[in-house]
């Protein structure tokens, strides 16, 4: 006799292996939330930098603060990941790269290129 399981099932999230596309997808959401949360800070900086030459200098000194740079790094990664995975989703919407093999390849590409591009960009600009 087989018994039907109906109770709550314990899922150990640390032991579930996510396929690479799922990582890309969940990171798209996480990066989106981070970008949303960074909005007030970014608008504040824009405001400060446009107010006066002194405000502009103050903005530059904020950006050169190492704690701030860590936060900025996170925002730049969020942007890079959100942009790249967004382009990937748009391509998949118009039926480009939908086979499992290409979709996995592009997911790896997005996951790896986002942090690399973010670091390169910050290194170049700071």
């Amino acid at each position: 006799m087989t018994t039907q399981r109906s109770g709550p099932v314990y899922l150990n999230l640390l032991r579930i292996r996510f396929p690479v596309g799922a990582v890309t997808s969940i990171a798209h959401r996480i990066s989106g939330v981070l970008l949303f949360l960074s909005l007030p800070v970014l608008i504040y900086l824009l405001d400060l930098s446009l107010q006066s030459p002194a405000g502009y200098e103050k903005t530059i000194s904020y950006i050169n603060n190492c704690w701030f740079e860590a936060g900025l790094g996170l925002v730049v990664w969020s942007f890079m990941h959100h942009l790249l995975s967004g382009i990937r989703f748009l391509l998949i919407d118009i039926d480009k790269g939908v086979t499992l093999q290409t979709a996995r390849g592009s997911a790896w590409l997005v996951n790896l290129c986002a942090p690399v591009l973010a670091l390169l960009y910050l290194w170049w600009i700071l």
């Binding site: 989106g32 007030p40 942009l83």
Partner: protein, 112 residues
């Protein structure tokens, strides 16, 4: 809430705004990459060009739509208790509207 959520309309809006946001932001990043040395005057003049003000105002509106659809979808997926859901959605809507008004005000003040 009696107003239905328009799935297809929002799906399309999310993608159209995404394209504009992507193009504008890549343009900004490339500009910062190629012209990293700005003085206040140079920066101020660049931001307050009429074409930039218009493009940025459109960007802010696209960002509000995109941010709302995206954040709402996440909340609807993960928050199921009605009261909490309504509270978080309200907070997100208020934050986005405040950010939009603030950003437009910053642009207009700089331009005047």
């Amino acid at each position: 809430m009696s107003r239905p959520i328009h799935g297809l309309r929002d799906w399309l809006l999310q993608r159209l705004t995404a394209v504009y946001l992507g193009i504008f932001l890549v343009y900004l990043l490339v500009h910062f990459l190629l012209q990293p040395q700005h003085s206040f005057q140079q920066w101020h003049d660049w931001v307050t060009q009429p074409a930039m003000i218009i493009a940025a105002a459109l960007f802010i509106m696209a960002l509000l739509i995109h941010g709302w659809v995206g954040m709402r979808d996440i909340v609807l997926d993960y928050v199921h208790a009605t009261g909490l859901r309504l509270a978080i959605l309200s907070l997100i809507a208020l934050t986005l509207m405040a950010c939009g008004i603030w950003a437009l005000r910053v642009l207009l003040q700089a331009a005047i």
